[in-house]
């Protein structure tokens, strides 16, 4: 059973949990930080672009709102020793996308609870399930969705195919295949200057974004 109530990771003995007051202060600070807001929205957009189903019924700002709500209501605990507030919200958004994508995929319309899809902001018209599934069941939609899923499932392969394996971009992607812990680790392993790496990485980010844009068209 997978619901939003099960998203939280186990609390370890050494974990330091934020109090309600600390969370309220963090929310106020985060809201007034323009740089922070831009990053959160960029993360929300990326996560939705990479989702299989959710991007059809959810906007980045709705996903961000739900993540903030999950933390405020206590559905997700903030372990302050592990992550800062911005990182927490991105982690929650990632969990929400994953669980809701799986939930939409796994359930038939009859089994789906309407309030499980209340991602669209309250001031907007939400698409109800009947409309959502009726919309999704046309032949054209099914074909497009399957093509889109194929693209999403192999984003790394498609990105790799755009670069020579021996090029810096190709080598970065090959390194990422093995795993990722930090960008510093990647450029050190590749033996390149940070500035050179950063420029190459930005080009890869742009290429991935263009790929996501094309998959939405």
């Amino acid at each position: 059973m997978l619901t939003e109530e099960n998203l939280d990771e186990p609390v370890l003995p050494d974990d330091v949990l934020a109090t309600d007051e600390e969370i309220a202060i963090a929310v106020v600070h985060a809201r007034s930080d323009t740089g922070n807001n831009i990053r959160l929205m960029a993360a929300a957009r990326l996560l939705l672009d990479r989702s299989k189903q959710l991007k059809r019924v959810c906007q980045p700002e709705d996903l961000l709102q739900d993540a903030i709500e999950a933390v405020l209501i206590g559905r997700r605990k903030w372990k302050t020793n592990r992550v800062d507030f911005k990182g927490l919200l991105v982690g929650v958004m990632r969990s929400l996308v994953s669980s809701r994508d799986n939930s939409i995929k796994a359930k038939s319309p009859g089994e789906m609870m309407e309030h499980e899809l209340h991602l669209v902001g309250e001031d907007q018209d939400s698409q109800n399930l009947e409309e959502f599934y009726a919309d999704a069941q046309t032949t054209e939609e099914i074909v497009l969705r399957k093509e889109q899923e194929a693209i999403e499932e192999s984003q790394m392969d498609i990105l790799c195919s755009q670069y020579e394996p021996a090029s810096l971009h190709g080598r970065i992607l090959e390194k990422l295949r093995e795993g990722f812990s930090s960008h510093a680790e990647v450029y050190e392993a590749l033996g390149v200057e940070e500035s050179v790496y950063r420029n190459a990485w930005k080009a890869l980010m742009r290429a991935a974004t263009r790929m996501n844009e094309r998959s939405k068209e």
């Binding site: 619901t3 929310v27 990053r39 961000l64 709102q65 903030i68 609870m113 309030h115 990722f180 980010m205």
Partner: protein, 173 residues
């Protein structure tokens, strides 16, 4: 247990790390190059914070309305909803998987409490509120939210009849 990530998950990790941690001028440059309107992104994020705060305030109110039911009122609400008191207690302790509660029942409960359905659903998905010292005597256990059961299982454990369960699980009407 560490599960090995797929190449696409590693790629997503790296992308999110860049978005979260790259120097401000680099992230702004990248977003500008991909046609993003930074001012609009900031405005939308602020709205998201505002709506979340507003929604949280309503959910908190719904949680308190449920927690603060007096024993006499609990009896009436349970009767009106055709459920046993133990089912209402489990709801008050936020021990139910919210997604398993039929929308019709959730709407009836929200109506009994004078709250919006969405606010009640959000409230029930979080931990139960701590006792409000002096305002009412709470029978809510602090750690009760950790174990959640599906609504139908709760009804069965309360020894309700198949007919009653069937009626409560029905989403129509």
């Amino acid at each position: 247990m560490n599960v090995k990530k797929t190449p696409d998950e590693n790629l997503l990790d790296a992308q999110l790390d860049f978005i979260l941690n790259a120097p401000q001028e680099q992230i702004e440059q990248y977003l500008a190059e991909t046609g993003s309107n930074l001012a609009e992104m900031n405005t939308k994020a602020k709205f998201a914070f505002d709506r979340a705060l507003e929604s949280h305030a309503k959910a908190k109110e719904a949680a308190q309305a449920l927690a603060a039911l007096t024993p006499a009122r609990q009896k009436v609400v349970a009767q009106n909803l055709s459920i046993r008191r133990s089912v209402l207690t489990a709801l008050r302790e936020h021990r139910v998987v919210v997604a398993s509660i039929p929308g019709r029942f959730l709407a009836r409960l929200a109506n009994e409490l004078g709250q919006a359905v969405d606010s009640l659903a959000t409230a029930l998905s979080g931990p139960a509120p701590r006792a409000l010292g002096g305002q009412y005597k709470s029978d809510i256990k602090p750690d009760a939210t950790r174990v959640r059961v599906p609504f139908e299982q709760l009804l069965r454990e309360a020894a309700m009849s198949e007919e009653e369960i069937s009626s409560l699980m029905s989403n129509g009407g």
